[in-house]
């Protein structure tokens, strides 16, 4: 059970090979249903190559659903963190407070997007089923590295999707959320290694050139390639119109 998640900077960009505990196979039943909705379930090791992708759609509603999906993933992750062994048995009071706050912030984002998409007379994505079997929720390093990866991914995703938003008010909303995600990312990184709030894996560390010391953004297809590793078959996503 060692090396569940590699403590390097590309954790989420690589396939995860680690052996998996049967009792880790939780299916999370919807991001807003809370931790009580966790259900123990069986699991198939075989990935289903025929699984269909859910497309987030086009235009502003597509971007909103894309953001909604990523927020669901983050909220589901933190919901499992605060129901997990590390949080319950080992975490300091200060770290517990951090995880409680992050769990609630992300849950607020989820509920906001579902409401905002409905308010735009569009249909929100279904409640996605995550697959966090590669994360060891009993171990600090695994939890924090996964949190770092999800938060950094969120920032890169919002930064990369801003250009696709047509309505200026939605763009400002995205800006209001992405800076909070960046604050989360900085905190989690500082918990792993103090002063690593802006690592050279998320910022272009050249000092000249057009992207010097800017955060590296990711396109929706790049982001979903990573996110899909943490979504169960039937919940994997595509964003074919956001490019």
């Amino acid at each position: 059970m060692s090396n569940i998640i590699k403590p390097d900077d590309n954790t989420l960009s690589k396939p995860l090979y680690a052996p998996i505990k049967r009792r880790s196979f939780f299916i999370y039943a919807g991001a807003t249903a809370g931790v009580t909705a966790l259900a123990l379930a069986g699991c198939s090791d075989d990935s289903d190559d025929n699984s269909s992708f859910i497309d987030v759609g086009a235009n502003d509603v597509g971007v909103l659903n894309y953001a909604y999906a990523l927020e669901q993933l983050e909220a589901a992750f933190y919901a499992q963190v605060i129901a997990g062994g590390y949080y319950l048995n080992t975490a300091s009071a200060a770290e517990k407070q951090v995880f409680q706050d992050l769990a609630l912030h992300e849950k607020i984002h989820v509920d906001f997007f579902r409401q905002a998409i409905s308010a735009a007379n569009a249909t929100p994505l279904k409640n996605l089923t995550p697959d966090f079997s590669a994360i060891n929720f009993g171990e600090r390093t695994s939890v924090l590295n996964a949190a770092k990866a999800f938060e950094d991914l969120g920032v890169a995703a919002y930064n990369g999707a801003g250009q696709y938003i047509q309505d200026a008010s939605y763009l400002t909303i995205a800006g209001k959320i992405v800076s909070v995600e960046a604050r989360h990312a900085a905190l989690i990184r500082d918990l792993i290694t103090f002063n690593s709030f802006v690592g050279d894996d998320v910022v272009d560390f050249s000092t000249t050139g057009a992207s010097a010391r800017q955060e590296k953004s990711k396109s929706p297809s790049q982001v979903l390639e990573t996110a899909n590793m943490y979504l169960a078959d039937g919940s994997k996503l595509s964003a074919n119109s956001l490019r």
């Binding site: 609630l104 400002t172 000092t207």
Partner: protein, 276 residues
């Protein structure tokens, strides 16, 4: 720092400024219940919050205007950290100095890339910056640093829509977003440094409009307040976030979303630091 000079300087720029205030007394009322030293330290801040309500608004309408505004803020931040690092003994050696050096390098790079993007349209760097009592001690330094970083985050956010309306030439929007999130990471870390220093019990994110002895106007409303509410805002896109779940307090809702600020409100706060 001479309060009357500040007012007279602002009067030169805007002869009607005092008419826009309810009365001169407002200025002094804002300073009234502070100790003399605190009042001096907070003078630009308190003035900012008074003027803010009177004249704050969005004035920029082209991508270049936004980029020059960003350049001014990055010049200011870069110079702030340069002055701080130059003052022996101000910032503890070790992790704190390393963090500030890293942040300053980012600001320098942002200056360079904005200058590059603007090319011949770049405004010149102001002659100098005077941050008043910011470098009197480490606590002051951190409070001002937090104000500039949180303010920078609000300032960039406030211009995203302007860039969009201007047609987003050369995808300047993505550049602005990519700088914006780096500023947010800086802000989070500075806030953690303040907490570690024991001078402010704040989280890396902003709870309500709590300034915790940083510049209050940075967390307050802009103009119009409907577009630029204070950081205590809990209504987003017409949705009352506290209505979505009984566990969502106003404080949590305010933390989950940062707020934007119009350029005039930002300039009102940082203007007194700029010496031309």
């Amino acid at each position: 720092m001479n309060l009357f000079n500040i007012i007279s300087e602002i009067e030169k720029a805007d002869p009607e400024i005092l008419d826009k205030l309810n009365s001169r007394r407002d200025v002094f009322a804002a300073l009234g219940n502070m100790s003399k030293k605190a009042a001096l330290a907070a003078a630009p801040i308190a003035l900012g919050s008074v003027f803010n309500k009177a004249v704050g608004q969005q004035t920029l309408n082209s991508a270049n205007a936004v980029l020059n505004y960003a350049l001014l803020l990055e010049y200011l931040e870069e110079d702030f950290y340069k002055q701080a690092l130059a003052k022996t003994g101000l910032i503890p050696s070790g992790a704190a100095t390393a963090a500030i050096q890293q942040i300053m390098k980012h600001e320098t790079a942002h200056v360079n890339l904005l200058k590059g993007a603007l090319s011949s349209n770049a405004n010149p760097k102001p002659k100098s910056f005077d941050f008043g009592p910011a470098f009197d001690n480490y606590a002051n330094f951190l409070a001002y640093a937090q104000s500039l970083e949180d303010g920078g985050v609000r300032a960039y956010k406030g211009q995203a829509g302007v860039i969009k309306s201007a047609g987003n030439p050369n995808d300047v929007l993505t550049v602005a977003l990519q700088i914006h999130s780096v500023e947010a990471r800086h802000a989070a870390h500075i806030r953690s440094m303040r907490k570690a220093n024991g001078t402010a019990n704040n989280a890396p994110w902003i709870t309500n409009a709590e300034a915790n002895n940083a510049v209050a106007a940075i967390y307050g409303p802009g103009n119009p307040t409907t577009t630029f509410p204070s950081e205590e805002n809990f209504m987003q896109a017409g949705i009352d976030l506290t209505s979505l779940d009984s566990s969502y307090t106003r404080a949590l809702a305010s933390e989950a979303f940062d707020e934007a600020l119009d350029d005039t409100s930002v300039r009102t706060v940082v203007g007194p630091f700029i010496k031309n």
